[in-house]
């Protein structure tokens, strides 16, 4: 029988526990300023995990920005109570924010399933282009239906406020809520990867012809990854909308979809969770910082980072500890020989 408590499993759990404890300590020890950097980073990490899952089925999505948008708008429309400021005639749902976010995630997941069912039979470049175009479709729909989406001014997304918790005057509750959803996403994507579904993802990506001819329905596994990723991108988008308090048509789009791609490739795609999280934790705060310091320089710096990673850390920033270890062990062997 296989031993359950393998070294790698213990290591993974230890890293996860330390990271979680660190994140909770930060909530109380860190300043509000740090939290304004960390909340978006966590949200991007959720989206990036989804992108990684899609990538690990051998597909390349450029549409995660669109699903964030769907989530953000859905949740805002479902929960907003301010009709007059945004010329919206549809402040009719007025649901609690957490309920709105949940429904937004489901809507986003259903749309991801539909788009996936249409495009993922072919996969590859066709899928890539359709997802790219999907970003624009969502933006055009949002601008074109002002009574629902508030036009170019966008729509107000209320702060969450369950159990009388004050989300408005402190960032801490929002930080903890985001952390909870991040942990949920990490568990889901980790479980997905470790289960047989994950090995089928890898089989489909490793050799699609062989996978298909040994009985795997390629589209099915690609659609599973795309749907789960779309659901979490929607949830993340909704979270971001409520965090910013407003959702506008230019909030997420192609640029953000490419940001996610950069985070994942820079962080590394060898793990379903770690690379995406590391990539988001490094690049999201850096991006926010650069935007405030040098306008337009952000993408240039990101480009350089991607090149550096491609040259020196092929498996991403998250593989740096292993790479350094290999380097040292290699040197030691050389010295000994």
């Amino acid at each position: 029988m296989e031993t359950y408590w393998t070294y790698s499993r213990i290591k993974a759990i230890a890293v996860a526990v330390v990271a979680l404890v660190g994140a909770i300590v930060l909530a109380y020890a860190g300043s509000e300023k740090i939290l304004t950097y960390l909340i978006p980073a966590y949200i991007w990490a959720i989206v990036a995990m989804g992108w990684t899952a899609i990538f690990r089925t051998g597909q390349f999505s450029l549409g995660q920005g669109a699903f964030m948008m769907i989530g953000a708008y859905s949740s805002a429309i479902l929960t907003t109570s301010v009709a007059e400021t945004t010329q919206i005639t549809s402040a009719i749902f007025q649901l609690p924010v957490l309920v709105g976010m949940l429904i937004a995630a489901v809507i986003s997941g259903v749309l991801a399933f539909i788009i996936g069912a249409i495009t993922l039979r072919l996969g590859g470049i066709f899928f890539c282009i359709v997802t790219l175009a999907f970003n624009e479709v969502i933006r055009i729909v949002a601008v074109g239906l002002p009574h629902w989406f508030g036009g170019v001014n966008g729509i107000l997304a209320p702060f969450p406020g369950p159990f009388g918790i004050d989300f408005q005057h402190s960032k801490r509750p929002f930080y903890l809520l985001t952390l909870m959803i991040l942990v949920l996403a990490a568990i889901v994507f980790w479980r997905l990867d470790k289960s047989r579904i994950g090995s089928r993802f890898r089989a489909v990506a490793a050799n699609k012809n062989l996978a298909e001819h040994t009985g795997l329905h390629l589209a099915k596994y690609r659609i599973i990854a795309f749907t789960v990723a779309g659901t979490f991108a929607g949830l993340a988008g909704a979270l971001f909308g409520h965090y910013l308090h407003v959702v506008t048509p230019t909030l997420f789009g192609m640029a953000e979809a490419i940001m996610v791609l950069i985070m994942c490739t820079a962080g590394g795609t060898r793990s379903p969770v770690v690379g995406a999280t590391v990539g988001a934790l490094v690049l999201s705060p850096l991006g926010d910082y650069l935007t405030s310091k040098l306008q337009g320089g952000k993408l240039m710096v990101f480009g350089i980072i991607v090149l550096l990673v491609a040259f020196f850390l092929v498996n991403g920033i998250s593989s740096a500890p292993d790479s350094i270890k290999d380097l040292i062990v290699g040197r030691m062997k050389k010295v000994r020989a």
């Binding site: 479980r191 047989r196 579904i197 890898r202 050799n207 012809n209 996978a211 001819h213 040994t214 009985g215």
Partner: protein, 255 residues
């Protein structure tokens, strides 16, 4: 006699004006090992692609165990027990030797995706059984002690053999083998041929696309030759190999 395991009825596959296959009829009896050959471009690989479901034929029917499967996808055919191997890129290259066999043999698992995601006890037991069975298959195919090696790091001949092991792990009823000894020779070829014979003894029906006529003569019970998308010979291997039109197709006419 039982019904044939595979029937091809008047199969044609056209690519524009090119008739890659032109009205091919072929009936394969259960347990038979058929060699399929022909000059380059004669339609062998196209025929494989039509039978395995990679191509839909322009006309004609593919019938497997009495069911019309002409419109089914490759994975649906594989689930019914119709499996093919590939000439090149035969493995899950970035995966270990063990994973290659595990991935192929989990096809027959009964627990669903949701049970797999949650990790129910029944699912975990089944996974353990699949790994145990995969190890048996690896031992049978001579890969014991190599399960952790990446498939892409194996020597070429071993990759071919592992390709056959992966295909056999799906529990096929009909196995289509594409050029099993192409590009390998000597001892390795003997080794692959011996394993194909063992599959034959286990009662698996096989069709073998092979250029190496000696291999076909050595193991096949029947020899089919294609030329320009048509079947030009079908019968006992030694007789077919001596047929004038077969020799002509391979070597051309004198003068």
């Amino acid at each position: 006699m039982s019904a044939p395991i595979l029937e091809l009825k008047n199969i044609s596959k056209h690519f524009g004006n090119l008739r890659a296959l032109d009205g091919v009829d072929l009936t394969i009896e259960e347990g038979q090992l058929t060699g399929l050959s022909g000059p380059n471009g004669s339609g062998k690989t196209t025929l494989f692609n039509v039978v395995s479901g990679f191509y839909t034929p322009t006309a004609g029917q593919v019938i497997f165990q009495g069911k019309d499967i002409t419109k089914l996808r490759p994975d649906q055919r594989a689930a019914m027990g119709l499996v093919r191997t590939f000439q090149s890129n035969v493995l899950f290259n970035d995966a270990s030797v063990l994973d290659n066999v595990v991935w192929a043999s989990s096809l027959r698992s009964r627990t669903g995706s949701l049970a797999a995601f949650i990790g129910t006890r029944k699912h975990r037991e089944e996974e353990r059984a699949i790994v145990a069975k995969a190890r048996e298959i690896l031992e049978y195919w001579g890969f014991s002690g190599q399960e952790k090696i990446l498939a892409s790091e194996l020597p070429h001949g071993d990759q071919r053999r592992l390709g056959l092991a992966v295909a056999s792990a799906t529990d096929p009823k009909l196995l289509l083998i594409d050029e099993p000894v192409g590009g390998i020779g000597g001892e390795e070829r003997e080794n692959v041929v011996r394993h194909i014979k063992q599959l034959q003894e286990r009662g698996i029906t096989m069709i073998l696309v092979e250029h190496h006529v000696k291999t076909i003569l050595a193991i096949a019970e029947r020899f089919v030759v294609l030329d320009f998308g048509r079947k030009i010979a079908d019968g006992a291997p030694l007789e077919v190999a001596a047929q004038p039109n077969v020799i002509e197709a391979y070597l051309g006419t004198r003068g």
